[in-house]
């Protein structure tokens, strides 16, 4: 099954051993999008690595850039100014909502419902308008830089963002009305792809997948970075760990993200947007692994710096989908092919995170 298949979210290939319609064994084959990003980063200066990291996980480019900047700032001891931190949080959370909308659209498309795809992408266009107003790009932004952000938001950003946040809850209610109590949706998602707690923890799953299995762990609350400890938001948790729980969790996360953006917009201070970082930026010798809560799980960047060089010695990227895809063969055993499609969609696997 794959690598070119409408439901494999990129290019993933599964070798399935079947007994009629039931999957007995599934082996994923990856590497169709292995672009050697880590080797590229070894020959780029630190600011030059940022556009490469944009393409690591393009649905949430801001998070990838931010993870790298967090690691570099920890290594070099740089602190970004207040306004920059608030702008970063606003962009990160808006990016999280945009990524969940892509997930919402493609999951429904995989399971046969075409209308939510159009609804999700319609809302996403509003968010992309906000991003385009700020940094000029719709998908791979190169906005969060080492020491701050690259440009300030224009004056029309805040009213437009508030307008989006005012009408967004009503749209979420629309989606909920379409799908939550829909019998077809419930049959295809409930008790499908149940991931037990211990297995999720052992395989290194994180993010919505871990929380749906019952473990309340969110890096924004348990290991806070940036200024997340100043905001008030809930962490939804699931009970059973099936696809339906993961779906409900992500819808709730979209609501919580809009709460965070609203609070950040109200508290936004004025001031500088970037600490001055020299053109020949050479962080001191050391290594750091920093992790953030991405919309797909834990995103970690490990950087080792040799000390007197403009280029890093090693950059290792860790994406949430890597571990989710690793656990998939265990949970699709005994189900049908259509269940495999539902599980892959609900775990929100994106192939560039797996392949780099």
């Amino acid at each position: 099954m794959g690598p070119h298949h409408p439901s494999t979210h990129g290019v993933c290939r599964f070798l399935l051993t079947m007994d009629g319609e039931v999957v007995v064994k599934a082996v994923p084959y990856i590497g169709y999008l292995h672009r050697a990003l880590e080797k590229i980063c070894e020959n780029r200066t630190y600011p030059q690595c940022l556009p490469i990291l944009d393409r690591f996980e393009y649905c949430t480019s801001m998070s990838c850039e931010y993870a790298f900047c967090l690691a570099t700032e920890k290594l070099a001891g740089i602190q970004a100014p207040e306004r920059a931190e608030y702008l970063r949080v606003i962009m990160l959370e808006l990016n999280r909502i945009a990524s969940h909308l892509i997930w919402f659209g493609t999951t429904s498309l995989d399971l046969g419902a075409i209308t939510p795809f159009l609804y999700g992408f319609r809302e996403r266009e509003d968010i992309l308008d906000l991003f385009e107003m700020t940094c000029g790009q719709r998908l791979t932004y190169n906005y969060i830089r080492i020491g701050g952000v690259s440009r300030d938001v224009p004056p029309e950003f805040i009213p437009k963002a508030k307008e989006f946040l005012d009408k967004f809850p009503a749209k979420i209610e629309d989606y909920v009305k379409l799908l939550n109590e829909n019998p077809i949706w419930m049959i295809r998602n409930q008790n499908v792809g149940i991931l037990p707690r211990e297995m999720a923890l052992s395989y290194g799953d994180s993010g919505p997948v871990l929380r749906a299995s019952g473990i309340k762990f969110d890096i924004r609350k348990d290991d806070p970075y940036s200024i997340y400890d100043r905001f008030d938001f809930n962490i939804p948790t699931g009970k059973v760990g099936d696809c339906y729980d993961r779906y409900l969790l992500r819808i709730e996360e979209m609501r919580q993200s809009s709460r965070i953006v609203r609070q950040a917009l109200e508290q936004l201070p004025s001031g500088e947007i970037k600490t001055k970082v020299s053109a020949n930026f050479k962080p001191p010798k050391g290594e750091v692994y920093s992790r953030i809560e991405n919309s797909r799980g834990e995103m970690g960047i490990y950087i080792q710096s040799p000390g007197d060089s403009k280029k890093p010695l090693r950059v290792k990227m860790r994406g949430g989908s890597y571990n989710h895809l690793q656990v998939m063969p265990e949970i699709v055993k005994g189900g049908k092919i259509a269940d495999l499609v539902a599980v892959m969609a609900s775990m929100d696997i994106i192939m560039p995170e797996v392949d780099r």
Binding site: Y29, I30, G31, H34, A36, E38, K39, N43, R44, K74, L75, M199, L201, S202, Y203, G204, D205, S206, I215, F217, D222, D223, G286, E287, V288, Y289, S290, R291, E298, G300, Y302, Q304, P306, L313, R314, K316, R318, Y322, N323, Q326, V327, D355
Partner: protein
Amino acid sequence: MDRTELTKYLLDRFSDKLQLLDTGKAEPVFILKAENLLEFCRTIKADDTLAIDFLCNIAAVDTGDLFEIVYSVASTKNRIRFDFKITMPYENAEIDSIQEFWAGANWHEREVWELFGINIRNHGNLTRFLLPDDWNQGFPMRKNWDAPDFVRMPEL
């Protein structure tokens, strides 16, 4: 548990096996000897104060003289995160697999083998998965690797 308490606890408990690498950065990094790896992992997983149940990342580094494998671990119950690493020379680079403690290590170790050439004992499935099936050009992430169609970015 913050950084100083964690460092003190780990050094007291494993004084003969661990060595602190003083980086002064956020999370502590320790150096471990390769033969103590399995015992160390077993202990930190079973210990109640640490309760390390989450393996974040396994990264292999080619420093030019040595290979280093860096393990990043965390605990979801207690707020703990630290790294430990193992260094080894280029010839006969080998390490044990830790997937009996954390099953997520499987693919990370497979990738380390495929891109760097470090052999993983007791892994069970060291086959190609990121590179094409007919790849015969060596281990690409090593510093001394080259190939005819590999274009390096020119220095400006």
